[in-house]
């Protein structure tokens, strides 16, 4: 299954590792912050509804 | 030419603090703005001076006719009293700084560095700057801070001379300046209804 990368195996695998890793980090960070901010906003909206 | 303010609303950080303010200031007249701390006196003066745009309403007869004095005097401590004054005179295209030195009793300090002056002396120098601007409408924010009684009297006399020469003054202050011709304008009734900052409105 695994293609033979020959002498460049490290460069290719490291590229995919770094590239995909950074994308995953970016996506996870974006999603986590989105969730956190959304939760905060809902909390504040609930509170302001109760009061006002 | 009159300074005419109509239905002025001013904002601090995008939040309107005063609204519906209207007044006229004719040549030879002085108007004293009164009101509790934080009611928007400084903001109003900055708006009239053109440093920030009005939130609503119009201001006529301001612009290049205004000489503005804020909390900070804009003095350079490494320049002498004369050099500080002469600089502002040159910026405003006037030449004679002698009357300003005389009226604010700065003649004895003329060669002193501004950094070596006391707080009250610095303030006097800051106010003397108004005289070298050659502009008719003085807009003054708490001009008497750190002035002693004698200096306040000097200042009041300078303002009265300015009025007598056809100038006018818009002053925010808490104390009685001893300028009988000044009218009092209480800002308290014009407090703006609590509302959101403009930049937040799209998000509410």
């Amino acid at each position: 299954m695994m293609p033979d990368l020959g002498k460049y195996a490290f460069a290719v695998l490291a590229s995919y590792g770094v590239g995909l890793g950074l994308i995953v980090i970016l996506v996870v960070a974006s999603v986590l912050r989105a969730r956190k901010v959304r939760a905060e906003l809902e909390q504040i909206e609930q509170r302001s509804k109760r009061h006002g | 030419m009159m300074l005419t303010v109509r239905d002025l609303a001013v904002s601090r950080g995008g939040v309107p603090v005063l609204e519906g303010v209207s007044f006229d200031l004719a040549p030879g007249r002085a108007l004293v703005l009164r009101g509790p701390n934080g009611c928007g006196k400084t903001t109003t003066l900055r708006t009239v001076a053109g440093l920030q745009p009005p939130f609503e309403g119009t201001i006529e007869g301001a612009g290049e006719r205004i000489a503005y004095a804020a909390h900070s005097d804009g003095l350079k401590s490494m320049l002498s009293v004369t050099e500080n004054l002469r600089f502002w005179a040159q910026v405003f295209g006037t030449t004679d700084i002698a009357p300003a030195l005389r009226d604010f009793d700065l003649e004895g300090l003329a060669d002193r560095l501004a950094g070596n002056l006391s707080a009250g002396q610095k303030r006097r120098l800051g106010l003397a700057r108004l005289m070298v601007t050659g502009r008719p409408v003085w807009v003054l924010d708490e001009p008497t801070v750190s002035l002693d009684t004698a200096s306040v009297a000097l200042f009041a006399a300078a303002v009265r001379r300015h009025l007598a020469e056809g100038g006018s003054a818009l002053i925010a202050t808490h104390i009685d300046l001893g300028i009988p011709e000044a009218e009092i304008f209480d800002m308290t009734p014009y407090k703006a209804a609590p509302r959101a900052a403009v930049q937040d409105e799209a998000f509410l």
Partner: protein, 218 residues
């Protein structure tokens, strides 16, 4: 405007900061380089033009936050904004004053420091010419950065971060003129480019600086 220029120059001379500090920094950077790369004359003379340019650029950067911050703190900037001077004029004069107190001394000091780095004889003229043409752009770009960060506490580091990428074209063309001059190659093309960058920056950037300053004074 002339009054403002004279005042800024007088302040720079009296407060000592403008002239002395930038020059001293330039000197120290240049002296430190041989400690870092070794005393070999051939190597030093090859990198001398670039080192002089980097040193000048850093010395320029050092004093950028003083361009507007001092006037902001003591309220002069508010008062200047109500004075009959256009904001574009104010930022241009500020940049000019910065150049006269920082850039020009660097241009004049560069040949002396070139001696320390065994700059090839043909290089002196072109190092000076390239710095003379390039440093005004550094001051104008720096004023833009200073206007962006004027109201901020601890704006100094941010100022460097904003300004350094903007310095890249000037540095590249300026150092290239100096290097080619030192190696006795033709300098016309990079010199034209450097002049073009400087002219464009001086003509256009004050408008951006003024716009930014108005926003910050609001």
């Amino acid at each position: 405007m002339i009054a403002l220029l004279l005042r800024d120059l007088r302040l720079a001379v009296r407060a000592g900061g403008g002239f002395g500090l930038g020059l001293a920094f330039f000197l120290i950077v240049t002296v430190l380089v041989p400690f870092g790369v070794g005393p070999e004359t051939g190597l030093l003379s090859r990198i001398a033009p670039g080192v002089l340019w980097i040193g000048a650029l850093l010395a320029c950067l050092l004093s950028l936050d003083r361009i507007l911050a001092l006037d902001w703190e003591d309220g002069s900037l508010d008062l200047l904004a109500t004075a009959p001077l256009p904001m574009e004029g104010i930022v241009t004069v500020k940049a000019l004053a910065h150049w006269l107190t920082t850039g020009l001394p660097l241009v004049l000091a560069a040949p002396l420091l070139g001696v320390l780095l065994s700059l090839p004889p043909g290089g002196y003229l072109w190092v000076m010419v390239s710095l003379a043409v390039g440093t005004p752009a550094l001051s104008v770009i720096g004023t833009f950065g200073a206007a962006l960060t004027v109201g901020l506490k601890r704006g100094g580091l941010l100022l460097s971060l904003l300004v350094l990428p903007l310095y890249v074209p000037t540095l590249i063309f300026g150092a290239e003129v100096a290097r080619r001059g030192a190696e006795g190659l033709a300098v016309e093309t990079p010199l034209l480019m450097l002049g073009g960058v400087s002219a464009g920056v001086i003509a256009l950037l004050p408008f951006a600086s003024a716009a930014v300053l108005r926003i910050n004074l609001r």
